[in-house]
Amino acid sequence: MSPQFVDFDADGQLDLLAGSFGGAPYIARGSAKGFGAPEYLRDSKGERLGLNMYWDHDEGHWTTATKWNEPGQKPPEGQGTSVFAVDWDADGDLDVLLGDYSAGRIYLRTNEGTAKEPRLSTFNVPIRHAGQPLVVPGNVATVRVVQWDGDGLFDLLVGSVGHGDDGAVYVYRNIGKVGAPDFDAPFVLLAPASAPLTDVSRPSHGLYPDLCDLDGDGDLDLLVGGSTNLNLPERELSVAEKEQYLTQRNRRDAAKEATAALRAEIDAAVKDLPEEEAKLRRKALEREFAPRFRDGARRRAMAEISLAAITFEPKQYHAVFVVLNESKR
């Protein structure tokens, strides 16, 4: 997801950008009253953004597309799960980067409008290095723009997904010019784990980093979330553990049933309608029901079972870590 607070349309209010696993970036527009409901981030034709694989909300399945490919190019199947806005070409407005979860590329959507009226280009241009598309080892969990070396050029901070347990954090130093970025070979900020993990000592899969001066010593520290994939033998639960686990699982199941009931309600409302009308009605109802699908209690129940799972069946442990830069000590 990797949220970014940014004034995307130069109206003086911070907006919130976020990627999604379904392959669409979203924006919650800020106002004096706060953030509005998240909506698709759209291109100059009003279409959602995406790479060439995404979840089709109208049809309810994964789908592929070539319409957003750079003309004349056939990129590998990509899933755009992260987004970051930056003035890539130094023309005074914000362009958009999309990170590729499944093939490791980073794509650019240029803003062809203005700072106040963004009009994002309709196709994905891969960021290139030495004439070839830049490919992040282990693919892209998220991409951010940072000032790493203070040379006045922005650099890229990338957390990789990892193939299994080898997720890592990289910095790509910008060795180009203002308005014409180019990048050096990746600099490893947090290397892949060297062996299967048996404790929660670091994240190893799906790394989501940010850099900031956490301890106030004037240099950048690393904050990174993700999953620690544990390699531990299974164990028998105690009676009390089983009871707690089952209680939480039952609450999770109740939350799932509530979701299924909402879906059944929609199905019933559209079942007798002609196909096209049913599709439109379904879409409208999904929008109407969205707050109920996103109900906080349901989300917490799902989180509880995740908590029980990591307590009693430790395989993946999701956590946030700080890694302090101790260069000045």
């Binding site: 909300h57 947090l190 929660v200 904050l223 906080g296 989180a303 990591i310 870590f321």
Partner: protein, 99 residues
């Protein structure tokens, strides 16, 4: 919980910068709990959400939820409050579509 003392080099050298030396990764505490616990793929970003001049810990996650752990005032290592949902302008929890 937040700070480690065993330093080791995680990174190679930069041409224009001294070799950065990083400490050991340490779990971040948010209130009484560890940050991100019970969530999936927490994605942190530091942002001053409440306008007190201190960057707060904002966490997104795979399910589309966004929480804020406010940085607590005071000297010494940064401390964060519990994870609280980031609210939209209508008072509901701000949740992004994940799918």
């Amino acid at each position: 919980m937040l700070f480690g003392t065993l330093g080791f080099v995680l990174a190679a050298s930069l041409a224009q910068q001294p070799t950065p030396v990083f400490g050991t990764p340490e779990r971040v505490q948010a209130g009484a709990l560890l940050a991100g616990i019970g969530r999936r793929y927490p994605s942190p970003v530091m942002q001053d959400v409440d306008g007190d001049g201190l960057a707060d810990l904002v966490l997104g996650d795979l399910y589309g939820a966004v929480t804020v752990s406010k940085r607590l005032a005071g000297e010494g290592p940064p401390r964060f409050g519990p994870e609280e949902p980031l609210l939209a302008s209508d008072g509901t929890e701000l949740v992004f579509n994940n799918w």
